[in-house]
Symmetry: C2
Subunit: 357 residues, 2 copies
């Protein structure tokens, strides 16, 4: 008795577990039904039930029927934590985006999630915020969940982040920006090329005096530099740059134009977002200036309202849904061990000429 003082309670505990699990039939809804419960009811082994769920083609139709009936009867819901732990496949894809308040990001996530759902994958969402200082922590938290693949926004990461990403050894797709060498795969466009495109467009349209209003955002800055450099190469040096805090808004456009006009500016303005461009147009009109006569405006994003402003806004269109969808497909190909056609996919951009330029 003295050498096994701990056994009785343990045995008791075991007995209780066993009773709860195997007593009379099936646990209705408490403590959750397990594979074993279903197996017992169906008169097969747990493994067979698992097979019916995951690889039904390897089980005879008769047994499948019996098992499915048992599943329905018990209201069995699989536990993917246990499944993932056992198989090291979670069917989970994690996405990191700065914010959902921007339709470019939320649209891409929408397309990504939809496409992944088709193949039975689910989305773990992480918001990094704009300064993305949280990225390290966020990534750590995300990797703790063992996602099968990763969708990232942007291609600049801290050394620590990059180390974590490499260590994870899972398919990774970086999006939006193609300016750096991707860790694994990339889907997006070249912000520099967009800048060049805008510059060439404005130059071709005859504008020789240009202002750029851009948010303090890394990618907006790359576009701005692309514009400035290209214009410089084309001989246009009268370029004014205005930088505004990160989430650019309509109000910022109004403000920035107001300040710029005190210098008597006339010419073309590119705004790093359509919202800001909208503000510029409204401010110009409010001051009795003609658009595009006195002030020409070209935005970025082709947001919902751009085509319906008066006058309709010239802008740059990015296919945000294509980014999400193509990113999903790149990841799915890798997850299915299919050969990946191209590691870097450029979705390009389109300069949409409307009436403000």
């Amino acid at each position: 008795m003295s050498d096994t003082p701990t056994l009785p309670p343990r045995k008791a505990a075991k007995a209780i577990t066993a009773k709860t699990g195997t007593g009379r039939g099936v646990r209705p809804s408490s403590g959750r039904v397990t594979l074993g419960d279903v197996a017992k009811l169906a008169g097969v082994s747990a493994m067979t039930v698992s097979r019916v769920i995951n690889r039904p083609e390897s089980v005879t139709p008769e047994i499948q029927t019996i098992v499915r009936k048992a599943i329905a009867e018990t209201g069995y819901v699989p536990n993917l934590l246990a499944g993932g732990l056992a198989s090291s496949r979670t069917r989970l894809v994690a996405a990191v985006v700065p914010t959902l308040t921007h339709v470019l990001f939320s649209g891409a996530i929408q397309a990504l999630t939809d496409r992944l759902a088709m193949d039975g994958y689910q989305m773990l969402l992480g918001l990094s915020g704009y300064p993305s200082e949280r990225e390290d922590n966020l990534l750590h938290a995300i990797l703790s969940r063992c996602p099968d693949a990763l969708y990232l926004t942007g291609t600049t990461h801290s050394p620590e982040t990059r180390r974590q990403l490499r260590a994870a050894r899972i398919p990774i797709v970086e999006t939006w920006d193609l300016s750096h060498k991707p860790i694994d795969m990339a889907v997006g466009f070249s912000h520099q090329a967009v800048g060049r495109g805008i510059a060439e467009y404005l130059h071709a349209r005859g504008y020789r005096r240009v202002a750029v209003f851009s948010a303090e955002d890394e990618r907006a800055t790359i576009r701005r530099d692309g514009i400035v450099d290209t214009l410089g190469a084309l001989g246009v040096t009268d370029v004014t740059c205005v930088t505004t805090p990160a989430p650019s808004s309509l109000a910022m456009g109004r403000d920035a134009l107001g300040r710029l006009l005190t210098g008597g500016f006339r010419g073309a303005i590119h705004c790093s977002s359509d919202s800001m461009a909208h503000g510029v147009v409204l401010e110009a009109q409010a001051r009795g200036l003609s658009v595009p006569g006195d002030i020409a405006v070209i935005g970025f994003g082709d947001l919902d309202f751009a085509a319906y402003m008066s006058p309709p806004l010239s802008t740059v269109r990015i296919d945000r849904f294509a980014i999400g969808r193509l990113a999903a497909e790149a990841l799915l190909d890798r997850l299915a061990d299919k050969p990946v056609a191209q590691k870097v996919v450029d979705v390009g951009f389109e300069i949409v000429e409307r009436a403000t330029t």
Copy 2:
């Protein structure tokens, strides 16, 4: 020999595992570092390492230091699948929304995710689509991941969905709509009250001829009915209702107004979204009608651009971030076993009078 033909290979397999796990020091990055690896390096038990991570206050500072050093050295990333399986707490909250393309939803998800992240919870995102026929399957997939809590959009669910939800026995918050009895908790506003508010507002402003353009969306329909009923009670019976396909758009507003004008309509129009209202304003202006003189317009949502249209759009503002934040707090309170102040939180709405009414 004949009774143990299977032992040799198993033992071999075991030995390999053991070697890989405990060989010389620590696995650099392959096969993932485990708690045990860290424990061995730190010279403590696995449980102590677990405590340092999860309840550091229960471990002496000296040992904490040693363990943290070992964690850093090995680059240990916890496996929350295993942790969740063992503790039946996943620190995961799942959200189901129809779409992210609508800022009302994506904004709420943004606020929800941000607030949850503060308390160390992460977001599992499910998109149900508008017809939400996928909700059953989606929910099944989500519950398989054992989230600690659930955020749902809308309060109408199929019987099967409701059964699954009850069986899950986790905190659930339903959002946007307060018209039904919540399964557990609810954060949102009454669409009926919004309809009443709009009707009373338009009536007070003197409008006696009203049209309602609403998307084929359940909640938009409730608002519409609220308008019609209230106007009726106020003696206004000249109400025209136009229904458009689900995701309402600017173009639909233009179309709908075009058709309505063939009947010589003059009066006030409510649109179930600001986008549609924008279209109505533009179409009216294109036809030389004065807004609000000939056609008054009031939208819904107070989207970004509403305040900056010309004329600025009257609309109904919902605090989408408040919904996400309050929903998160309701769930967190429940998860922390705090008493929940109120099971139903009405964030209300605000009629924003601008220049189109």
